[in-house]
């Protein structure tokens, strides 16, 4: 909120004196914080100035970065003074809780607001059809802004590189994180029952059934009747050969998708905790960390908390594994990237682009990944700093799952202009199937029909 108040700052004499003092402090800050940040991350300004980029071309401008309170914003914020020192561009940040941010952003953008200049973004398709996101190809081709050899796009994970690529070949955002669905198992519990880490869905079901007791759930995953809770289920649907969206229409009523929903709901009904139909990621993660569930499957970002002995009782026992297969098809875990885009109404588009270029560069990724952030850079994933912050085994599993994921499939669903409706109907359908009030087949057929009826032709 303090950031917001600054916008309405009225300049009186006292205010002027105060802002002069603050400006003085702000000018001194990069030298102080910047140096300590470099010391931690091991990268100095030379890592950037060696690039053939005119970093100072927008010195003196000020940009606002909007986003969610998230590992990305937490990891990048300490290094922002370094960006200011490099470019002379001042950065104001406005990070709020994820729900609050994602709810307020479309309304702000639709009203034509020029701020935030840069913002974290998920509903990519919506943003493009609405014209909120600045097309970035022209910026990438500008030799004063980008030095391709220095930026080294080949170093970006393939799925993350393909993620922002729109059908027309245009790019409207930078992928800033890479997450893939990972299987988490409690090795201690598996060992007690003499079980191995499951590799197929049938083994997963057998293991979950065997591990279920009065005190411990065999498996817990998010399954709440809300669109964003469909993340784990989606990997099941892809791996069974199903899709969420085909040719712009909802397709989760296919036999493959129904078989996946059948497996997903059977797992949770027979081996899940009571109340699982109301589980969000928060409950799934907490249950696993407290040892109240033996298995879970969700985003690779869970690893940071699960491996942290201060938060997790099972840090020593936790195993990180590949997403299971049907046995006859390859596993296709769900994946996702947070992206960051430039506001098409911004008055400082090039400065905003420079910020994203800096934030996704090799050198910055190396620094942020040492704080446990799952960046989009191969070099950062392989770095010693990241491996020790994220956990060696977790990093390996996440990277392998990212490699198996299919960015195209994920994009088709999530980038549909009416993706929230599509995912909401899926969530409601699964919720009905899970409660047993409807069969998976009927629930999915009804859900797809309802979703398709809402799509604008």
């Amino acid at each position: 909120m303090t950031d917001r108040n600054k916008e309405r700052f009225v300049l009186s004499r006292r205010a002027f004196t105060r802002s002069a003092f603050m400006a003085g402090t702000a000018l001194a800050m990069p030298a102080i914080i910047g140096r300590s940040a470099f010391a931690q991350g091991g990268a100095g300004l030379e890592a950037y100035t060696s690039a053939n980029v005119d970093w100072k071309r927008h010195a003196g401008t000020k940009i606002m970065v909007g986003g969610a309170t998230h590992p990305w914003s937490n990891a990048v914020t300490p290094f922002i003074p370094q960006f200011t020192e490099l470019t002379g561009i001042e950065v104001e940040t406005d990070f709020r809780s994820e729900t609050e941010f994602l709810t307020a952003l479309p309304i702000k953008l639709a009203s034509g607001s020029p701020t935030p200049d840069v913002f974290m973004y998920l509903a990519y398709g919506q943003g493009i059809t609405a014209g909120w996101l600045e097309p970035l190809n022209a910026y990438y081709e500008n030799k004063d802004l980008v030095d391709p050899a220095w930026y080294d796009e080949a170093d970006i994970l393939k799925s993350a590189r393909e993620y922002p690529l729109w059908q027309n070949g245009e790019r409207y955002a930078f992928a800033i994180t890479a997450e893939a669905q990972t299987l988490y198992v409690n090795r201690g519990y598996l060992k007690e029952k003499g079980l191995d880490t499951p590799k197929t869905f049938d083994e997963l079901l057998a293991a979950a059934r065997a591990l279920k007791s009065n005190d411990v759930a065999g498996i817990a995953m998010r399954a709440k009747a809300a669109g964003n809770a469909t993340f784990p289920l989606t990997g099941f649907i892809y791996s069974y050969g199903g899709e969420l969206v085909r040719d712009g229409r909802v397709a989760y009523d296919s036999p493959e998708a129904i078989a996946a929903v059948e497996m997903f709901t059977t797992l949770l009904r027979e081996a899940g905790p009571i109340g699982v139909s109301n589980y969000d990621w928060y409950e799934a993660l907490n249950d696993f960390m407290q040892g109240a569930s033996a298995i879970t499957s969700d985003t690779s970002n869970f690893a940071t908390d699960i491996s942290n002995p201060q938060k997790s009782k099972v840090a020593a026992d936790a195993g990180f594994a590949l997403f299971p297969t049907t046995g006859s098809r390859p596993a296709i875990p769900n994946m996702s990237c947070w992206q960051a885009a430039v506001n098409s109404k911004s008055n400082n588009k090039e400065a905003a682009f420079l910020f994203l270029l800096w934030a996704t560069s090799k050198a910055t990724s190396l620094q942020t990944s040492a704080r446990g952030l799952a960046t989009t850079r191969v070099s950062a994933w392989e770095s010693e700093g990241f491996r020790s912050a994220f956990g060696q085994e977790a990093a390996q599993a996440a990277l392998a799952n990212l490699h198996n994921a299919d960015a195209e499939l994920a994009k088709r669903a999530r980038f549909h202009p009416q993706s929230p409706q599509i995912l909401n109907e899926l969530a409601v359908g699964v919720s009905l199937a899970l409660s047993g009030s409807e069969t998976a087949e009927k629930a999915m057929k009804d859900a797809a029909a309802k979703a398709n009826a809402q799509l604008r032709k």
Binding site: T103, A225, S437
Partner: protein
Amino acid sequence: MGKRPAGGSGRKASWRRERGHFILLMLTPAIVLLTGLILVPFVVGFGLSFTDYILSLPPARFAGFDNYMTLLSTPEFWGSLRVTLIFTVCSVVLQTAIGLGLAILLHEETRGVPILRAIYLLPMAVTPIAAVFTFRMMFNPSLGVFNHILMGMGLPPQDWLGTGNMALLSLILVDTWQHAPFILLIIAGGLASLPGDPFEAAKIDGATPWQTFRLVTLPLLKPFLAIALLFRSIDAFKTFDIIYVLTSGGPGTSTTTLNMYAYKQAIEFVSLGYGSSVAIVMLIIITIVTQLFLRRSRLLTVAES
């Protein structure tokens, strides 16, 4: 002398003008706020409800009564209306019973009463969203305190938010916990302001406590009850925070109230046109029900006897 009356009326006129200016000045902030926060959004929402505006698929096109026709023909709308009515009626009845009961019990001034009254009013002092998040943790089937207590007593753990009926019941309980003190507060105020004579007369006539309550206290309390019921019903009809945090309208759509439905359409799906039409229909329902309640019930008049 001749000028005097003229001067007097001149002063009077200028005094009247000044008074007019003063009233206008005093009313301006309220009028500006009402216009900015209520009138303008209402007019914009009303206008939007006749378009097919989806934020992510501009531009908005005029759609006549399409949204309203779709709305009235979708089972989701009728389902949400049903859930809303069940939630409103059950929670308001429960809260009124508890609020009234506690108010009557606390009316007898004994030593413990001031402390008890403060304790009972506490739920109103807690930030609603913080309280609801705490309930979310307490309802958690595997780690929550409710099931821990049940199991401690040898009872089976409950799936508080996991099945349709149970989730609705849990929401009603949380709403009651939070808002029964509101009813208690209004009724306690009412009780304190009641005249003493009818009670003395009842005592002299040898009425039992139950007779006194039914035939004297309750009729006299009617206007206070009416205000409490009206406020709570309107508020319960548009409850959002509890449902959003605890169930998001699930499992399935079993706790999707009209307000949740409007929120999902307008904010989650950024379908402003359709979402606005749901909100307008809600407004119409609340207005009609309120008017009926006020006119038919005659609760706002004090009983004669």
